[in-house]
């Protein structure tokens, strides 16, 4: 490297005679120096001390003659971003002002021989060097490498930071209690938690100062705990609440250690405590929910239950708890209000009485919750908010007096419809409700809603049950009444039947006796008439005729009486219906009428006849009458032919099966205009002399048919023949033939 000797360009050179080699001088200085030519914008390095070269990892002599940024580029962010180099600015400042410039500690990384950058911190001072004419000749840099100090310092700072962070995040507070001097020294967190100044905490305060900050409900217990552990114990663990300066309640868990001397006297009591308020809130909320659930499931009297729940909430969870429910007229009624102080409860109730229920048209608060079915949550209520929401000065005063600082309003829903609200109010800023609290309140409202729905359903079920029971009882009573009436009726009917049966029997007996007694004189008339005829015929002369007419009359009377008896006996001597084979009956009739049939050369055609439910005797009577008629009323020119046929019929307006009997003859026939007459009692279409008979035959037939619940009619053509048509039910229900 060619050495460039620095030649001082002094106009006058008093010490010329010295012939000092500045380079050599510069080189041997133990400190680190750089020199720059001032009129060089690139700030070419004029000289460097050997110490500098060594420290900056540059081969001595290499840097000289090069622009400073060639050797030591400014890699600071500022230079890279803006092109401005603080380093060069400092040099320029010296040029400008002619005064030295002391740079703040700056980070100026330098290249290693391998090209990588090494982090360095410097304290740089730049001096101007003037010649004898006061012209700036050189810029000299005094370089102080403070890298080690800085890094060491950073490490400490970071450690401290981390500790602080840890302390803050864990909200750990620490203390140390020197028992002999009765001074408890605490850190910042402790001071915060106990509402004392940091300064006092650092200085140390006696125990009472800290005890005062403990929440009054816990104070006595903690005092005793501490005195107990001081007496005998080496570890202290406890949980209690403190009240900060802002009046906020915090939960803490405390651990401490007792250090004793050889005599066993406590000397030191250091410890730490952790703020567990959030956790405690969550824990408590779960407990509240559990308790609330228990209360809710106990009783179906939801009003009482809600009051119990409201009471459950104060004073630990909140200062005020109010529950309001819509009544049948859609007016919000206060069902429960709770506060630790009974006087305040009374005040609240009185307020409600005088103010009345809230206006449900309001855009916020209870009305809004009811409308939307969504909760409202005001974690922290400032005075501004009170001013904004108060309707008038009176209300504002009221709100301020209440000192509400945190509010949760949650809806109570039955069948998904909001029917009420639970309001939780904290006052005096003692605590601000958290999201966890809102969750708890919603959970509570849900359970209460469920309980109310259940209660409503239970009520409904009870009512329905009561209604049903009532209906059942009414039905039962009606039924019993009906039964007794039916019973009465049945006995009436039974009695009536009995009566009728008896009267029937009497009638029957009467009819029988009457006819019997009536027949008796007739028999005498006939008998003696007969004898008279036989024994005195020759002397009677015309008297014979008179006698014959008398006998005839008597005979007719006898027949009439018999027929009357027979007619009356259709009902009185009627028998039970049993299966009767009609074919068999006809065959019996035919055999009975054998004589008449053979006399008239009558032919009978019997086409399949069924078995029906009937009175066998009466069927006999019926068929006998009809067949006899068929034979009797035959035409002169034709031997009687009688056809009997049957078919099964179900009439459209009836559901019973009928047997349709047809007795067809080829006899005289009759004019159908006399149809009704022929079935009447003692009605005849021919005179006495033409055909024997009283004219009761068909009347009896009709009575028999009617007794069987059937019908009889006929069709006929004068001179051709007649067909008698009978409808008889195939079957009868039991008891149909009681009479």
């Amino acid at each position: 490297m060619p050495e460039k000797k620095i030649k001082p360009t002094l106009k006058t050179d008093p010490v010329d005679v010295l012939h000092i080699d500045y380079q050599q001088l510069f080189n041997s200085l133990p400190d680190q120096y750089l020199a720059f030519y001032p009129d060089d914008p690139d700030f070419t390095i004029a000289a460097e001390s050997q110490a500098h070269a060594i420290n900056t990892m540059v081969t001595p002599g290499d840097a000289v003659g090069k622009p400073v940024f060639d050797v030591f580029p400014d890699t600071s962010e500022k230079h890279i971003k803006t092109g401005v180099s603080d380093f060069k600015e400092s040099l320029r400042k010296v040029i400008r002002t002619g005064r030295p410039d002391i740079m703040d500690t700056l980070q100026y990384d330098i290249p290693r021989p391998d090209g990588t950058m090494e982090t360095r911190f410097w304290q740089l001072t730049h001096y101007p060097l003037f010649d004898s004419n006061h012209k700036l000749e050189l810029l000299v840099q005094s370089t102080h490498d403070v890298t080690q100090e800085v890094t060491a310092g950073n490490k400490l700072q970071r450690a401290e930071q981390r500790l602080d962070e840890a302390l803050e995040v864990g909200q750990i507070a620490t203390w140390s209690w020197n028992i002999s001097s009765n001074k408890i020294i605490g850190d910042r967190n402790l001071a915060l938690l106990f509402g004392i100044s940091e300064k006092d905490a650092a200085k140390g305060l006696p125990l009472p100062a800290f005890l005062d900050a403990i929440y009054e409900d816990d104070r006595d217990r903690v005092t005793k705990e501490i005195s107990d552990v001081l007496k005998s114990g080496d570890r202290y663990v406890s949980e209690y609440r403190t009240v900060t300066r802002d009046g906020v309640i915090r939960w803490v868990i405390v651990r401490g250690r007792i250090e004793r001397n050889v005599k066993g006297e406590p000397i030191n009591f250091p410890g730490a405590l952790v703020d567990i308020t959030e956790r405690k809130i969550v824990e408590n909320n779960l407990t509240y929910l559990a308790k609330a659930s228990a209360v809710l499931s106990e009783s179906l009297d939801y009003r009482q239950t809600l009051q119990t729940i409201a009471k459950l909430m104060v004073p630990d969870f909140t200062d005020w708890c109010g529950i309001e429910i819509l009544d049948e007229n859609n007016i919000l009624q206060q069902v429960a209000v709770a506060h630790k102080d009974p006087e305040k409860v009374k005040w609240a109730q009185e307020l409600r009485r005088t103010q009345g229920p809230p206006n449900l048209q309001e855009s916020s608060g209870t009305a809004n919750v009811l409308r939307t079915g969504k909760p409202e949550f005001y974690p922290h209520i400032s005075d501004e908010l009170l001013v904004a929401s108060a309707k008038d000065k009176k209300e504002l005063k009221l709100l301020r007096d209440l000192a509400l600082s945190s509010v949760i309003i949650v809806p109570l829903k039955v069948n998904n419809k909001a029917v009420g609200v639970i309001s939780l109010i904290a006052t005096d800023g003692k605590r601000d409700f958290t999201e966890s609290d809102l969750e708890m309140a919603e959970g509570l409202a849900n359970r209460a809603s469920l309980a109310m729905t259940n209660a409503a359903l239970y009520d409904e079920a009870q009512r329905e049950l009561a209604e049903r029971t009532r209906l059942e009882e009414a039905l039962w009573t009606a039924n019993e009444e009906l039964e007794s009436r039916v019973e009465a009726r049945t006995s009436e009917l039974a009695a009536a039947i009995l009566g009728l049966q008896r009267s029937n029997q009497e009638l029957q007996d009467f009819a029988y006796v009457a006819s019997h007694d009536l027949q008796e004189p007739l028999r005498k008339i006939q008998a003696f008439g007969n004898l008279l005829q036989n024994e005195y015929n020759d002397v009677l002369g015309e008297g014979s005729d008179y006698l014959a007419r008398m006998r005839n009359a008597a005979a007719r009377m006898s027949a009439l009486i018999e027929d009357i008896l027979s007619f009356s006996q259709v009902s009185t001597k009627g028998r039970e219906f049993i299966p009767v084979n009609l074919k068999t009956v006809v065959q019996e009739v035919v055999s009975d009428l054998e004589v008449r049939i053979s006399d008239t050369h009558a032919t009978l055609n019997i086409i399949d006849l069924p078995t029906i439910h009937a009175d066998p005797m009466q069927m006999r009577q019926l068929l006998q009458n009809l067949i006899a008629n068929g034979i009797k009323f035959h035409r002169d020119d034709a031997a009687p032919v009688i056809t009997i046929r049957a078919s099964t019929v179900v009439p459209s307006n009836d559901k019973i099966k009928y047997c349709r009997l047809e007795i067809e003859d080829n006899g005289l026939g009759f004019d159908e205009k006399y149809l009704d007459r022929i079935f009447a009692v003692f009605q005849r279409l021919h005179n006495r002399d033409s055909y024997e008979g009283t004219g009761i035959g068909l009347a009896v037939c009709r009575k028999i048919v009617e007794r069987h619940g059937g019908t009889i009619t006929a069709t006929s053509k004068l001179g051709k023949g007649s067909t008698f048509i009978i409808m008889l039910p195939m079957r009868h229900k039991k008891g149909e033939n009681l009479l």
Partner: protein, 153 residues
Amino acid sequence: MNQNGIVILMADDDDDDYLLTQKAFKESKLLNSLCRVKDGEELLDYLKCRGQWAKKRECGRPGIILLDLNMPKKDGREALKEIKSDDELKDIPVVVFTTSKAEEDVYKSYQLGVNSFITKPVTFEGLLQVIQTLGKYWFEIVELPAKVEEPSV
């Protein structure tokens, strides 16, 4: 008196009927000793030799009783019952001879042990026929129990 000397005792309250029956018997040439009592009481008195027949019975013990059912004081049904339950009298055949055709009378009579039941015909001819048949049956065809001696007074 018939060939066998059997007495026919007729119990009938009706004089006309008795007259006719008598006539019929006569015409049937059944010259039995036809005795008559007017009602059930007389019948039993006669049979038991009581009352007016305590001392003597004109016809003696009857071989057959013709019994009408409808009689005053004691009717035929009662008399029948008594006769057939009396050891001394039950062997006497009883023929009910009544105007009644009632099935119940027929049934009850046979139940009580009547030997036959005949309904009095309406006409005289009929009556004659019945009496003739009756005579033939009971006196020619049928064996009657042996006559018991008259109890001496």
